[in-house]
């Protein structure tokens, strides 16, 4: 039996279903992220775990105990909010000490525990300051220390890093993970940032329109997205509509605008409409005549460690990412060839859906 278990959790607001039939099991010590665009129900799910929102249906169990209807102040969970939500009229020390005070921890025991929590987040020298005297990153650490000091069974993080600037966010990601490993607290994080979810989670839960569409390890979600939405939402991808031309036991060929592309997906039937999904870094540039396709460099963008090309060809514009190995990049307008291994092509059954705005907004 898992440590934190959500079973068929549903939240309806009038006729609208914010969260529909969500089931999730989190093991002790695991770091799980709920990932999805805004409005997908991930925050509502977190708030139901926290006890701020009461589920319309379903049960939540923590360590075997049913906490579905328990009040937030009796659950003992540690929560870090997007806005940090520090007590502005209390010093850093008092902020962290608040939870211990509420748990009636004797005064003599509180001080060492607060100090321990503050040194965990490298803020020991700031105990006497007020939140307004701290930077965004420091406030976030105080919020983390305040949540962890009560030794919660589960730590809930609601978009904890989205108010920080890019560089700090990256540094804090790793620090967050390091701290979580050190204290071993089971953690559920909500985020719309896939890079954040991937880099620090054991497992990622992708949510879409109130439902869970995939639960997997980060690299599996990236390599084997189960829906077209996920492949679009998670990282960049080339989506190509086609029809199955031939099918054998172990694979098939898919006809894309008259070009036959081999794939390694079994169980397809001839004539079926499919969407192929190829990650930009899985495509390789070759000499113009050498590849499976030929095209022309429409645009190229220097990303530092990588080059991003837009290649115009018979299949439309494809994104190609190549590592910057120091060699001369292909010129704009130059003819190039494209090749890839059939094993990297993912096949989604059915026609390609219109790209939802929410997905585009966050993939870039």
């Amino acid at each position: 039996m898992s440590f934190l278990e959500l079973k068929n959790i549903t939240k309806r607001y009038g006729p609208m279903t914010a969260v529909g039939d969500v089931s999730l099991s989190v093991e002790k010590g695991e770091f799980v992220s709920l990932l999805g665009p805004s409005g997908c129900g991930k925050t509502t799910t977190l708030q139901m775990i926290a006890g701020f929102v009461e589920p319309s249906a379903g049960t939540i169990r923590l360590d075997g105990r049913d906490i579905t209807r328990a009040k937030a102040n009796s659950r003992g969970l540690g929560i870090v909010f997007q806005s940090y939500a520090l007590f502005p009229h209390m010093t850093v020390f008092d902020n962290v000490s608040f939870g211990l005070e509420m748990q009636r921890v004797p005064k003599g025991e509180r001080k060492p525990r607060v100090e321990e929590a503050l040194s965990l987040v490298h803020l020991a020298p700031y105990a006497k300051r007020y939140p307004r005297e701290l930077s965004g990153g420091q406030r976030q650490r105080v919020a983390l220390a305040r949540a962890l000091v009560i030794r919660p069974p589960v730590l809930l993080l609601d978009e904890p890093l989205s108010n920080l600037d890019a560089k700090l966010r990256e540094a804090m990601q790793f620090e967050l993970r390091e701290i979580q490993r050190k204290v071993g607290t089971t953690t559920v994080m909500v985020t719309h940032d896939q890079a954040e979810a991937f880099s620090i989670s054991d497992r990622v839960v992708v949510m879409e329109a109130g439902r869970i569409t995939q639960i997997d390890q980060p690299y599996r979600i990236y390599e084997h997205p189960e829906t077209e939405f996920i492949s679009r939402f998670v990282g960049k991808t080339n989506l190509l509509p086609g029809k199955v031309a031939t099918a054998t036991g172990a694979g098939a060929t898919v006809s894309l605008a008259g070009i036959a592309v081999p794939v390694e997906t079994a169980g397809l039937s001839v004539g079926e409409t499919v969407t192929l999904c190829i990650r930009p870094e899985k495509l390789h540039l070759t000499a113009p005549s050498g590849g499976l396709l030929t095209g022309r460099v429409a645009d190229r963008f220097f990303l530092g460690s990588q080059w991003l090309y837009h290649i115009d060809g018979p299949l439309g514009t494809l994104m190609v990412v190549t590592p910057n190995d120091g060699s001369t990049p292909a010129e704009q307008g130059a003819p190039v060839g494209l090749e890839w291994s059939p094993s990297v092509v993912r096949v989604h059954r059915g026609a390609m859906a219109e790209a939802p705005d929410v997905a585009l907004e966050v993939t870039g």
């Binding site: 009796s74 997007q82 009229h89």
Partner: protein, 264 residues
């Protein structure tokens, strides 16, 4: 920061002088040694201040006004805190009505309120009651407190309360340890502005004070209709002094900009 041109500077100076001159003159007159309202030309004297403190009616009225202002401001705050919390945070039937009701005394002339209260007091047999006078003043000062508190509560990040709640605090503890301290500037500001308004109120009070509950502004009005002597100036100077102290306090704890301009 841009600097004012000479014309603007002149205009500003004119406005300031126009506003301050009467106050300055009243304060100066208060120190006159003469028996008439005149600027002190032959030195300063505190005789009119002394006269005020030896005038039992004025002293009594001062205490009446002070108690009245303290009580009505305090009770108005005690009423307005839960009312503003409810109106700002919850959707319930009659919410818009309550909000309008609490703010409506702002647009009803005090004269009308005075007549209405006079009738009401007569009907309930409360003429001359200090308690009913406090209630009438609460009607006048509550809207000011409500406006300040609603502004303070609207900008409140509720996740701070959720954080306290998740750390194991009860509802009462969250209010006492988190909500109240965070809206405290609004509460204090509201109290002070209510105090000043009540202390200063004349129009309505004229109708509903009795000989034993006459407030300072009413006493001054009655005195001034009979005779004008520098004692009036001395009382005015004292009121200006008290109000100035209150406003300075208000600026310190809340910031006058936030009250008058509505900046958060």
């Amino acid at each position: 920061m841009t600097r004012n041109g000479p014309v603007a500077l002149f205009f500003h100076a004119l406005v300031v002088i126009f506003m301050l001159a009467p106050l300055v003159i009243v304060c100066l007159v208060a120190f006159t040694p003469e028996n008439t309202l005149s600027l002190p030309t032959r030195g300063f004297s505190l005789r009119w201040f002394e006269a005020v403190f030896h005038h039992p009616d004025f002293v009594q009225s001062f205490w009446n006004s002070l108690w009245l202002a303290v009580l009505s401001a305090t009770l108005a705050v005690a009423l307005a805190v839960p009312a503003s919390l409810a109106i700002t945070r919850y959707e319930f039937p009659g919410r818009g009505f309550l909000n309008a009701l609490f703010l409506s005394p702002l647009i009803i002339p005090h004269l009308v309120l005075g007549v209405a209260m006079l009738r009401l007091f007569a009907v309930v047999g409360a003429a001359g009651s200090f308690g009913w006078l406090v209630a009438a003043h609460m009607v006048i000062v509550t809207p000011y407190v409500m406006r300040l508190l609603i502004a303070a509560i609207s900008g409140f990040d509720r996740s701070v309360e959720q954080a306290a709640f998740s750390l194991g605090a009860s509802e009462a503890t969250v209010f006492r340890r988190v909500t109240l301290p965070m809206i405290l500037p609004g509460v204090t500001g509201g109290w002070l502005i209510a105090f000043i308004n009540s202390f200063d109120e004349l129009t309505m009070s004229i109708f509903i004070t009795s000989p034993s509950t006459v407030t300072l502004p009413v006493r001054m009005y009655m005195y001034a209709t009979e005779s004008i002597d520098p004692m009036m100036a001395a009382v005015s100077a004292l009121i200006i002094g008290i109000t100035a102290v209150a406003v300075l306090l208000l600026d310190r704890v809340y910031g006058l900009d936030r009250i008058l301009v509505g900046q958060q």
